[in-house]
Symmetry: C2
Subunit: 402 residues, 2 copies
């Protein structure tokens, strides 16, 4: 009997480990593979032959794994580039050495591209190894899924913090603006989702060029009307010429040729204070807490992430199943949200960015349409019953630290 | 039958409304007062005669009020200064006009000073009005209590975010530091509490002068030993000469003659990167989310805040009870934490800052002692069962917005 390998890549989420748990548990329920190995630190660990045997992870640990944030196997940002023959050969070599038939790769669009590239290479070189993608991303920017595991929990935390900080802000009489900055390099899904709680006065998305004067006019209006203005800004918000609002802040390269962003909120505050509309502003940058919010997991998100892991495992029993990614589509049953599971070619997931739809954006930074709210609402409902230890949700010791 | 008045002041917390709920509920259980009025926006609202009748708030609303963060009555930073006769006269006038016998003031040490000053003024001017303090502060810097309502929930959230972001950070192989900045102007209680989760490598408190070279040596050591270094810094951390680490960041005045801080984490990151130890660092500033974390309330904190409200109400039935503040002391019963309620003179609570004890600080930024951990642990244990609406904890519409 052959073995399988699971690895995680890219930025962690609150539920990426639930997908890992799903693969492990599915194999305990139906042992398609003799061993389920975990690749330590993504493809880097595979290249370095660093594997961890997860086959017999106890049921209690699997439950705790579902509520452990971040990537329990460790992650990487190393990109397998087409044409780097040595890397492709090495992955297949390591897999062959351990009799590994299938690699499940949990990640975002870059990782789905890796699944596609590995499958392509294997087909072209007569290698029997197969490659299956399990999507995750807090950015929710993957096509062709309805949404992506990791996003809903991030959106739920964001709404909880926006609502709580709005109430904190609204308790004061002094004139000031409140700005919450949230992740979203190219797609404004997370920022837009913050409107669900009903406390966002103005919303700045990367999808709409930022017009400073038009925006300041809206701030002025909100302050004049209600004495307050709660603003949510996506880290990737930019001017018409493509310059990020955060430009001027120091940048670090994350090795993937994307600019590392940060500071849009602080820069925006300065713009508003300089305009003289209000003398002060407060900035809350949700930063990393957004994506690792295991204390604010969405029940829908955890279930879907777990079940996508199970689905990938079960589908992989078909020896023709390769270069595929599993995903969720939405169907409405009696007016209620229902997840429909499917699988599609990795090439359709890779290297595309699904933007927040133009037609869901209200003019003048006024937020999003009812249709958009209806899209978000069912995703953030429901709270899993968490196991606590010492006042915080219990977590597993990461496998890359064992 | 006379009436009473409750108002809230200073920075909100996750449980300041639980104390308000306690006063309202206690009067429903034993109607010592005909009406329980809420002062809108603290003493500002009292001066402006803006009151809201809370007497018959339904039981369900009282329960939701306990999980509503921020100050549901609104808050203020207006300070009643001794000698400003007009203000003192006006407060007593407004109280007399509404037949209000007792003012319950929920706030930090500045507010406890207001309780003291008002009581003093009333005694000196033969006014029969009485003044009672109910403490709150996320900073935990009040004497002579064991701890202060609001602190434990902030500490619980901080531990959840530190643990989650640590796991996120630890999933990567690249060399970088992670820095979490947290509130604490003059006292490092909140920053120190982050050590409970066990993920803090280095801790910078305002209580110990920051020595750049000594600190960098420790960063170097942690990176060399484990390849990682998770740092928690208090916003009020400073050099031996009193200069804040955050100095250089623009400051705004909050009207209370304290400097408004922010940016210690970013500044520290720059210091570390400039030193060449690691090429990059990540900064998470917990900012306002720290104190309004209704989704991460500590059960102990909610109970004690609520019961302190009840205790203040019950004790105030004694016509000699004035210029007093209620509080919690700690007793250990069979080795387990137990809250002991007491009341003491407002003058003992006012205008003192209780620092994190020197003897609980480990040398070389290594965190805190076991004794300190034992102090924190029981405070952050337990989670109240929250009522959710639309994916976030249900909250009441603030009374200052009705």
């Amino acid at each position: 009997m052959a073995n399988c390998l699971v690895a995680q890549s890219g930025g962690p989420t609150a539920v990426i480990n639930a997908s890992l748990a799903g693969v492990i548990r599915a194999n305990q329920l139906n042992p398609v593979y003799e061993h389920v190995y975990g690749g330590i630190n993504g493809i880097e660990g595979v290249l370095a032959d660093k594997l961890y045997d997860l086959t017999n992870l106890p049921g209690r640990d699997i439950e705790i794994l579902k509520q452990t944030p971040s990537s329990a196997l460790g992650t990487c940002r190393y990109k397998m580039k087409r044409g780097q023959e040595a890397d492709f050969k090495r992955v297949v070599e390591v897999m062959a050495a351990h009799d590994i038939e299938v690699l499940f790769y949990i990640g975002g669009n870059d990782s789905m591209d890796t699944v596609d590239a590995l499958s392509e290479w294997a087909a072209a070189n007569g290698a029997p190894q197969r490659f299956v993608g399990i999507p995750k991303t807090v950015d929710n920017d993957l096509v062709p899924v309805d949404h992506c595991p990791g996003f809903a929990s991030a959106a739920k935390l964001a709404n909880q913090i926006v609502h709580a900080t709005y109430l904190d802000y609204a308790a004061y009489t002094r004139p000031e603006v409140f700005i919450t900055e949230i992740m979203g390099r190219d797609a404004g899904w997370l920022a837009a989702s913050c409107c669900v709680c009903g406390n966002v006065d103005l919303l700045i998305l990367p999808e709409k060029p930022f017009d400073k004067e038009a925006f300041l006019a809206q701030v002025q209006k909100k302050i004049a009307e209600a004495g307050e203005c709660y603003i949510v800004i996506s880290e990737g918000a930019r001017y018409a010429d493509g310059t990020y609002i955060s430009a001027g802040e120091s940048k670090q390269d994350d090795g993937f040729a994307h600019a590392v962003l940060g500071g849009a909120g602080q820069t925006l505050k300065q713009i508003i204070v300089d305009s003289g509309i209000v003398p002060r502003g407060l900035v809350q940058d949700l930063s990393r807490a957004t994506r690792s919010s295991n204390f604010a997991q969405s029940a829908v998100d955890v279930s879907e992430a777990y079940e996508l892991g199970m689905s990938a495992h079960a589908r992989s029993a078909n020896p023709a199943f390769t270069a595929q990614v599993v995903g969720v589509q939405r169907e409405m049953v009696d007016g209620r949200y229902n997840a429909k599971f499917f699988a599609g070619p990795a090439s359709e997931f890779a290297n595309f960015v699904k933007h927040f739809p133009e037609e869901w954006i209200l003019p003048d930074y006024q937020g999003i349409t009812e249709e958009a709210l209806d899209y978000f609402r069912p995703l953030i409902e429901g709270e899993p019953k968490l196991v606590y230890e010492n006042g915080i949700p219990a977590t597993l010791v990461p496998f890359n630290q064992r």
